[in-house]
């Protein structure tokens, strides 16, 4: 197959295309839609008396804000990286918020005496956290990947990793509103395990989901 011949075939098959909107705009639209869904869910189901009591503690409020910010920045970075020609440095955007979230969570573990036990035993109620993060992340990931694949990303790994980190962090942010106890080592480990599982699934399925179509 000659390259010259390929050019002729591509030219003869050319059809007008609808230009994709800028990635920052698409990211903001997706995040706005998800923000509405999250707000409705929280208004409908969260125990606001408990939430206000927990958020009165600055460390917990900062932990919650850092998780939310990690989600926002990671999703934004995934949209930016999905389009060719954008700086790969966008991939580092969620790092400060993610580091802050880890640091504040670690501070929480320290505050609770590095206890390996969560409420009701070694793993106890923390297993619900794992299930919540994975359960909420799956539908969010489907929606996010459907939006990202419109750009037909050429670098699949960073897009899949950032996208799934974003939705898992958003799930963790939502979880903060239903979390009746303070963070412990085992609880933090299960939160991170939930995020890792979501990222692992997204990265493993990146080719059939993001590259097709």
């Amino acid at each position: 197959m000659q390259t010259e011949q390929l050019i002729e075939e591509l030219v003869s098959g050319l059809q007008p295309v609808r230009r994709l909107r800028p990635p920052w705009l698409r990211a903001l639209r997706w995040l706005a839609a998800v923000a509405v869904l999250i707000a409705l869910a929280l208004l409908g189901f969260a125990n606001w008396a408990l939430v206000m009591q927990r958020m009165a503690v600055p460390r917990i409020a900062l932990e919650c804000a850092a998780a939310g910010l990690t989600g926002l920045t990671a999703v934004f970075a995934a949209f930016m990286c999905s389009v060719p020609g954008r700086s790969p440095r966008w991939a580092a955007l969620p790092l400060p918020a993610f580091s802050l979230w880890l640091a504040v969570s670690g501070l929480g573990c320290l505050h609770n005496g590095w206890s390996l036990h969560g409420p009701n035993g070694f793993i106890g109620d923390s297993s619900h956290c794992f299930g919540f993060i994975v359960g909420v992340s799956v539908p969010l990931s489907i929606g996010l990947f459907a939006a990202l694949r419109r750009a037909r990303p050429i670098a699949l790994l960073p897009v899949a990793a950032l996208g799934t980190l974003g939705v898992a962090a958003l799930a963790d942010f939502i979880l903060e509103f239903f979390h009746p106890f303070d963070v412990t080592v085992i609880d933090l480990a299960l939160h991170l395990a939930g995020i890792a599982v979501v990222m692992g699934i997204g990265i493993a399925l990146r080719r059939p989901i993001l590259a097709a179509g």
């Binding site: 390259t3 390929l6 060719p84």
Partner: protein
């Protein structure tokens, strides 16, 4: 590129010809074998065609094209490394079956149904490569567009499919 996005074929042809030296130089930075360079160039052109809707006319075209060219050259090199690690090239295999017994088995089948059954045993991507390239006699670019596989992936899958078919036919011949 803006005109090409709107369907202007003449502008698109001019663009593709003008970017060729740039794309080729991008490919040469990572690929050293001439056939790899050409494969990377062709994959880049196909990707430019596939993702042309993502180009924003308010942003530099060279950065957009360079990102695609670099990625496709890396993909070709990775594929090359993978293939050379696990497979040995057998040029005769592409033309015909070097094993005389295998050829006899093929003749002995005399049945399209038998070949179809063998094809069914191949993985989907390999079967698709054989169907498009060998049975439907499509050109590589056409087959790549129709299947969604890159030119390089199609070549590799066709090669693997022929190898697998040969093995299946030998097993069949022995039984």
């Amino acid at each position: 590129m803006r005109a090409a996005q709107e369907g202007d074929r003449r502008a698109y042809e001019r663009l593709l010809r003008e970017i060729m030296p740039f794309v080729r130089s991008l490919s040469r930075r990572r690929c050293h074998n001439p056939s790899d360079v050409e494969e990377a160039v062709q994959d880049t052109l196909l990707t430019v065609h596939r993702v042309r809707h993502t180009y924003d006319p308010d942003r530099p075209f060279a950065a957009w094209l360079a990102a695609i060219g670099a990625r496709r050259a890396i993909d070709v090199m990775r594929r090359r490394q993978r293939v050379s690690k696990y497979e040995t090239a057998d040029p005769d295999l592409v033309e015909t079956f070097s094993d005389a017994a295998a050829n006899n088995d093929l003749k002995a089948m005399h049945s399209a149904e038998a070949v179809t059954n063998l094809l069914r045993q191949l993985p989907a991507r390999q079967r698709e490569a054989i169907e498009k390239l060998k049975l439907q006699e499509m050109r590589l670019a056409q087959a790549a567009q129709a299947s969604g596989q890159s030119v390089g992936a199609l070549k590799v899958n066709a090669h693997r499919a022929l190898k697998a078919l040969r093995a299946l036919m030998q097993v069949r011949g022995k039984s």
